[in-house]
């Protein structure tokens, strides 16, 4: 007799379903990031200066599936059943955040692999500035912004009636993620050069902290009826 699945499999299922539901966002994020990366690779200096900056934008777009799944599950009454079977509201938010992070990471990892692979294959030399920018700006800002967009949009989804299209949370989520990314970039560019990565890493850490606080408090801040289908 087959052993029952492990309890943690709900998170794995959520990730897999978010890929299926958000496949169009994922495809667009991957396509745009790879195309832009390919274009940048034509000029080494442009690549080194711009490549780390463009990565979070498309990764955030690609991560929208986590939010779409959250909105769909709420509207379809899936949460109602999960709550009845003992799944806590906080876990619903946490699973969607995890799915968003995985989706963003897929776009990020693919773009980095294509970009760095193409750069090295084209005779480019990986200098410390490029690696530092990837590690201290691209990666933290991608994760922080994707999670911020997902968290804020999930709360918005939970407190509002279902709205489809560009005017709804799913339509505006990428903007919510890209907004902080641009603001951090502007702040870092206008600050002294020595503070550049202090600002980017600090901002990413602050955004992540806000997301974690919101996620931890979501179960208490939002009453359970917010997670029920409005139908």
């Amino acid at each position: 007799m087959e052993a029952p699945p492990r309890p943690s499999s709900l998170a794995a299922i959520t990730i897999r379903r978010s890929i299926v539901v958000g496949v169009r966002y994922l495809a667009i994020g991957l396509f745009l990031s790879v195309v832009l990366t390919a274009l940048l690779l034509r000029q080494a200096r442009a690549f080194e200066a711009t490549f780390p900056l463009e990565l979070p934008l498309f990764a955030i777009l690609g991560s929208t599936g986590g939010l779409v799944l959250f909105g769909n599950d709420r509207a379809k009454g899936v949460f109602e059943y999960l709550l009845a079977y003992g799944v806590r509201p906080r876990r619903l938010f946490a699973n969607a955040l995890l799915a968003s992070a995985v989706l963003a990471s897929i776009v990020l990892a693919t773009a980095v692999a294509v970009g760095i692979g193409g750069f090295v294959a084209g005779g480019g030399h990986l200098d410390v500035n490029l690696v530092t920018a990837l590690v201290l700006y691209s990666v933290p800002m991608t994760v922080a912004s994707a999670l911020f967009a997902a968290m804020v949009s999930m709360i918005w989804t939970a407190v509002s009636s279902p709205r489809a299209g560009l005017g709804g949370p799913a339509g505006l989520a990428p903007t919510l993620g890209i907004g902080p990314t641009i603001l951090v970039l502007v702040a870092a560019e206008t600050a002294p050069r020595s503070d550049y990565y202090v600002i980017t890493v600090g901002a990413a850490a602050t955004i992540l902290a806000v997301v974690l606080v919101l996620a931890a408090a979501s179960g208490r801040l939002l009453s359970r009826e917010r997670l029920l289908s409005p139908m």
Partner: protein
């Protein structure tokens, strides 16, 4: 009176110590619940411990779905308590004692039938063999590779109800399981629920009064968020007891009676008068083809 229940079902006493495990049931005390601070249920108390189908009736907005959601632990009560098998509904282990079926399908987007059941099997900590068993039990094995969104209403309801058979539990909360179904599928689902009720406590809400009378042992009637009746259905007496008499041609004429369709209507004081009426009519040479109760006592709960 409900066997095993307190003297008054509207004023439940705590279950005796040690009895909870032997007779898993639901004890609700002075429950208030609702949505976003707005109370839908108020002062609801009852206790059910006997394996049977308890039909929950009430007009739209009476609080049926709110009651089911609160008993399932989905909504947190504003006041009062809910105990499942002697434990508070707040305790996570209590959820393993019950199944909940909403009037909403709750099947996740983008999944095929077998994937959807595996999803819920995972949530319930059931195995894949349980999914296979349920696919056969509900006769949906042939649909296993179809996307849920592509199914007909009846097929969707079968898949939706299948999840409550993935694991055996003590209490089943079924909120309008046969709504929007054709009579054939509704009858099949009623048969499945009837099979459950031999060993389980089943709370079943419906707008179909004939269905409620057909399968229910007890009725809980809600009005404006309050429980105003909890009784055995067969003990309910309508204010007017009317039988319909259908006769074959060729016999003696019936006395002048009001007629509805093919039925002559005769008001009696109660069902105990039916044998006397039949004897009188047969003695007069009336060729009776059918005698049936024309009213449903449950109808008066909606008056």
């Amino acid at each position: 009176m409900v066997p095993g229940a307190p003297a008054s079902p509207l004023d439940p006493r705590p279950a005796p110590a040690g009895a909870e495990a032997a007779v898993p049931g639901i004890v609700v005390r002075d429950l208030a619940s609702g949505y976003l601070g707005k109370r839908v249920l108020e002062g609801v108390s009852f206790s059910v411990t006997e394996p049977a189908i308890y039909v929950v009736l009430g007009q739209n907005g009476a609080g049926k779905t709110t009651l089911f959601r609160t008993l399932a632990g989905i909504l947190v009560p504003y006041a009062g308590t809910v105990e499942i098998a002697g434990r508070s509904i707040d305790e996570p282990s209590t959820r393993d004692r019950l199944h909940f079926l909403s009037h909403i399908d709750g099947i996740p987007d983008g999944l095929r039938v077998d994937e959807a059941l595996r999803f819920y099997a995972s949530v319930q900590h059931a195995g894949r063999d349980d999914v296979e068993r349920v696919l056969r039990l509900l006769e949906i094995d042939g649909l296993r590779h179809r996307y849920f969104a592509e199914l007909s209403q009846g097929q969707k309801k079968r898949v939706s109800i299948a999840r409550i058979f993935l694991q055996e539990r003590d209490i089943y909360l079924l909120d309008e399981p046969t709504s929007n179904l054709d009579p054939k599928v509704a009858a099949e689902i009623r048969d499945l629920v009837l099979g459950l009720s031999r060993k389980k406590v089943v709370l079943y809400s419906s707008h179909n009064l004939f269905e409620a009378r057909e399968i229910g042992e007890y009725v809980l009637a809600l009005k404006d968020g309050r429980l105003f009746l909890f009784d055995r259905i067969r003990d309910l007496r309508p204010s007017r007891y009317v039988v319909g008499l259908r006769v074959s041609p060729g016999g003696s004429a019936l006395p002048a009676l009001e007629k509805r369709g093919e039925y002559y209507l005769q008001e009696l004081s109660g069902p105990e008068e039916v044998p006397r009426l039949l004897q009188e009519l047969l003695a007069k040479g009336v060729r009776l083809r059918e005698v049936r109760e024309m009213g449903n006592p449950l109808e008066e709960l909606f008056a």
